[in-house]
Subunit: 154 residues, 2 copies
């Protein structure tokens, strides 16, 4: 059982944009960071733009950014808008040709399981899953250190 | 988000066997009933036999039957044994190459969603999803009719 690569890439792309809220990011940059295809990213960027998750700026110096704060981007809503379908078994599709369609009770059982799955995602936002922003200096005492101690020793 | 065709076919195959507990069923018969490929069914039959869900009898007059009563076949256990993996997003696979692996918090969120999904299936057995066995005669009073009324009129 898998989500499509498109949804996987959409999540990664949005996490990257969430980590760089102060500037526009490019497809080339995201492709390089994750080592994934620019062509796939172009497709997903277009889809995320249409769905209103990101804003794009064209031309030289252009790029993309989140259209909302990470805490406003609900994971359930995002996955529903990107994933092409949730036909776990064939009878969940409208054009099902299974001879049991309408007779067996597989659809309600899998629909309930899918609802339980989505309910979990509905309880999280992009902010919950983003990697923590890296501190400029490492170590448990780094934040408390006064600026002069980070100067080179003379 | 989909389960594989193998799991879909496994569920249908077991439902058919559950409806014909009094005899051995053949792959050709199941393929004909559902209009699906014999080659796919052979593969899934082999897998279901190895996993102990069905028993097969070789040779002329042979076939397959459920190894347990439908009420003993748990849907969660069945899906776990047939579905190749549950890598909803790439970072759930052991060989993940995503540069965020171990940094973002996507894995625990999707793992919790998957647990909620499987918990629903764990609460059902094959008996819950099987189509109702067809009555020999239709109509609300058919069962109550005494035997003589079904004889041809003289």
């Amino acid at each position: 059982m898998r989500l499509t690569t498109m949804t996987d890439y959409a999540l990664r792309l949005l996490m990257h944009l969430g980590q760089h809220r102060d500037r526009l990011c490019t497809i080339a940059e995201v492709a390089r960071v994750y080592g994934i295809s620019e062509a796939h990213l172009m497709k997903i960027t277009h889809q995320l733009g249409l769905a209103g998750w990101i804003e794009t700026v064209r031309g030289k110096g252009g790029g993309m950014r989140l259209a909302h704060e990470p805490v406003q981007i609900n994971l359930g809503a995002l996955v529903r808008s990107v994933e092409p379908d949730f036909f776990l078994v064939e009878c969940m599709a409208s054009g099902s040709v299974c001879t049991l369609t309408g007779e067996c009770r597989l659809t309600p059982v899998f629909s309930a399981a899918l609802d339980a799955f989505m309910l979990q995602l509905d309880g999280h936002t992009l902010a919950d899953v983003m990697p923590p922003l890296r501190p400029r200096a490492k170590g448990p005492t780094a934040v408390a250190l006064p600026a002069p101690t980070r100067r080179p020793l003379r």
